[in-house]
């Protein structure tokens, strides 16, 4: 696999991850947002696969398959199950309107670039040059968690943050040993379960997963 | 602790106790004569004491051992102070035992004992007397100690014998501003501590105006005799302090009988003069309102304070 095709493929995959995170911010219907996150999972797996193939790391390829299964299929499935038994409207409600979210995401990307400028200067390989995007995806994940009212979207935000970190991991190091990836994966899985239980608990208590209702708990 | 020293100390105690009632008798006589009356003879206080000693002793139901012990402690401390104060000679054995501070605190012990007995009686008057007595004693304390400070600065020590000897050796020091100011301060304190006219009226009948007298309302018979004797001895002790610390001439510095006799004569003359002054002050001045007394004592404190600063800047 030649270097130029590797660079193009890599840029394509990372670009896909970034675009999906912007899409998650932009879309209104929850169902489509979940699907977008699934796509982002696959894109992430793609990045891992491309790097694995180029550097002939069989272990990395195994990791990318696991990422594809976990982040592409299992976790979005879980999110869908959380949404299914709620009867509330599936619309996305947000503290700041959509254009403002997109603008904020842009600013965060700029921040990511300035923050990782010293790291990028270290080595001019394709992976390292793409790293700021990983950080940007993580920051956008946090933005998603911060600005959305629904508990489900917060879960999606956390997942996106984790994808961003995983992306930085793949790009930064020349692949991650399988054990660490397994560890991270299990953590994420656990987080998902907890959030899922929490959301159902909030729904039973407040009849909706709007987090502002938690405000009454304050003394 | 040589035997002659002890003998001198005992002699001084007996001398002060013997002539204390007579001096109080003399004060009452002078006061009577100034008021145009004949007045009781000088021996009258002794007659009263002798009569009280044989009267019944009445102890009210709620009093405890404090009521019984207080007259003894008061009189005991008065007797000890009488022995300590150099009325006849400076060579008494007690010179190293206690100094001017010890004398002041022994008198304070007597006042505290009497105040506690006043409270123990459980009557309103006893409590009122005790509270006022302790208030005045507490406020008079700084004046006494700062006056002693002034005296001991010029004499170099607070021991009674040393102060007297120092004034004897430097006659000019007797008229120095330090001594005069300290004398004035101690004079005011003498009136306050022994309950004479400007501060407290010893011969009043209205309980509400009493300070020292109110505490003794509950005592009778021998207890009352002891308290009256102690009051007389304390007055004479204060007057002796005023006399011998500021005008010590005539006091014996050795223990020979002849010197002691001369000293006795000299101190008696001085005490009579002071007693006369006390009596005339009582006739000419009226009793001060209770809450004006702190101002009077504050004025005397300022005198004592000036005495100290004078001793430093001028000496």
């Amino acid at each position: 696999m030649k270097h130029t095709t590797f660079v193009q493929l890599l840029d394509l995959a990372v670009g896909a991850v970034l675009v999906t995170s912007f899409a998650a911010l932009w879309l209104r219907r929850l169902a489509t947002v979940t699907r977008v996150i699934a796509i982002q999972g696959f894109a992430l797996a793609g990045v891992a696969a491309v790097i694995g193939v180029y550097e002939h790391e069989t272990e990395l390829i195994a990791v990318s398959v696991m990422v594809a299964v976990l982040r592409g299929l299992v976790l979005p499935g879980l999110i869908n199950r959380t949404m299914r038994d709620g009867d509330e409207r599936r619309e996305v409600e947000s503290l700041i309107n959509i254009p403002a979210s997109l603008l904020a995401a842009a600013v965060l990307t700029l921040v990511a670039y300035t923050a990782t400028r010293s790291v990028v200067a270290l080595d001019d390989s394709a992976q390292v040059r793409a790293m700021p995007l990983g950080v940007a995806v993580g920051l956008i994940g946090i933005l998603l968690v911060v600005s959305r009212r629904k508990a489900v979207l917060q879960i999606i935000g956390v997942l996106m943050l984790d994808n961003g970190i995983a992306l930085v991991m793949f790009l930064g190091t020349s692949g991650v040993p399988l054990a660490i990836e397994l560890g991270v994966a299990s953590d994420v899985l656990l987080a998902m379960f907890i959030l899922q239980v929490l959301t159902s608990r909030i729904r039973t208590k407040f009849g909706g997963t709007d987090l502002d209702q938690l405000r009454e708990l304050r003394d | 602790m040589n035997p002659t020293g002890i003998a001198v100390a005992l002699l001084q105690a007996v001398f002060v106790i013997a002539c204390a009632p007579l001096l109080v008798g003399w004060t009452r006589l002078v006061r009577a004569r100034l008021e145009g009356r004949v007045g009781a003879p000088i021996r009258q206080p002794w007659r009263d004491l002798r009569k009280w000693f044989v009267k019944e002793r009445m102890v009210s139901e709620h009093t405890g051992w404090v009521f019984a012990l207080a007259p003894l402690v008061l009189t005991g401390s008065a007797v000890l102070v009488a022995a300590l104060v150099p009325s006849l000679s400076t060579s008494s054995a007690l010179d190293q035992v206690g100094d001017l501070f010890a004398v002041v605190y022994l008198l304070l012990l007597g006042t505290v004992a009497l105040s506690l007995a006043g409270l123990d009686a459980g009557t309103a008057f006893g409590g009122m007397g005790a509270s006022r007595e302790m208030t005045i004693t507490a406020i008079a304390e700084p004046t006494v100690l700062v006056a002693i400070f002034a005296l001991s600065v010029s004499a170099g020590s607070s021991n009674l014998g040393v102060i007297v000897a120092d004034t004897l050796s430097r006659p000019s020091a007797a008229a120095s501003p330090t001594n005069l100011l300290a004398l004035a301060a101690l004079a005011v304190v003498t009136v306050a501590e022994t309950g004479r006219i400007p501060v407290d009226n010893p011969s009043t009948h209205l309980e509400l105006t009493m300070i020292h007298e109110a505490m003794t309302l509950e005592f009778s018979g021998p207890d009352l005799a002891m308290i009256e004797l102690a009051a007389h001895v304390r007055l004479v002790v204060f007057l002796t302090l005023l006399a011998n610390l500021f005008v010590p001439w005539g006091i014996a510095t050795t223990a020979q009988p002849l010197h002691l006799l001369v000293a006795a004569g000299a101190v008696l003359v001085k005490l009579t003069v002071l007693a006369t002054i006390v009596a005339t002050v009582e006739v000419f001045l009226a009793k001060v309102r209770l809450f004006r007394v702190p101002e009077l004592l504050a004025a005397s404190f300022v005198l004592a304070f000036l005495a100290v600063t004078a001793s430093f800047f001028l000496a």
């Binding site: - | 009577a32 004569r33 100034l34 008021e35 145009g36 009356r37 004949v38 007045g39 009781a40 003879p41 009258q44 007659r47 009263d48 002798r50 009569k51 044989v54 009267k55 019944e56 002793r57 009445m58 009043t204 009948h205 209205l206 309980e207 009493m210 007298e213 003794t216 309302l217 509950e218 005592f219 009778s220 018979g221 009352l224 006739v283 000419f284």
Partner: protein, 162 residues
């Protein structure tokens, strides 16, 4: 201050020669040990203050009972004799009895004036409880309404054994 000094010097002694002790008064046996020192506590058991005025005059400069060793004291505990004036009113019966109990022995009661002796002009009055002897044992009675100071001083002198 000087004005007072001038009056003192001008006035000189105001006391007149005192009356001798009144021999007619018979004293109880236990009164003997006073020997020239008599502490007196005045108890006004309802008098019209006539006797008080005379009694006070007895201690004034002119009659000066103090020269015979007689002194007024504030508390019955200090007193040897209770001088009671006036008929004993209903309210003063108990306090008079309590004062008498509070006086240490050997003690005397001197009924001053006719009222104290036999209720005098107030005899049979509504508020009157009785004469002094109905409440406390009386030793000496000084008649008169009010008795003049020299009579009082003579009696005092007799009681004091002067």
């Amino acid at each position: 201050m000087l004005r007072l000094l001038r009056t003192i010097l001008r006035a000189g002694r105001a006391t007149e020669p005192g009356p001798s002790a009144d021999p007619s008064l018979v004293l109880p046996s236990h009164a003997g040990r006073l020997r020239g020192s008599l502490q007196v506590r005045l108890v006004d058991a309802g008098s019209c203050n006539g006797c008080e005025a005379e009694f006070a005059a007895a201690f004034g400069p002119v009659y000066d009972a103090e020269r015979f060793g007689v002194r007024l004291v504030a508390s019955p505990r200090h007193a040897d004799a209770l001088v009671v004036t006036g008929p004993v009113t209903r309210n003063m019966a108990v306090p008079l009895a309590k004062t008498w109990e509070a006086t240490p022995g050997p003690k005397l009661v001197i009924a001053l004036g006719d009222c104290a002796k036999d209720c005098g002009v107030f005899a049979g009055g509504h508020g009157v409880h009785g004469s002094v002897s109905d409440v406390v044992p009386v030793d000496v009675e000084i008649p008169g309404c009010p008795p003049s100071p020299d009579v009082i001083v003579a009696a005092m002198r007799r009681v004091a054994g002067g």
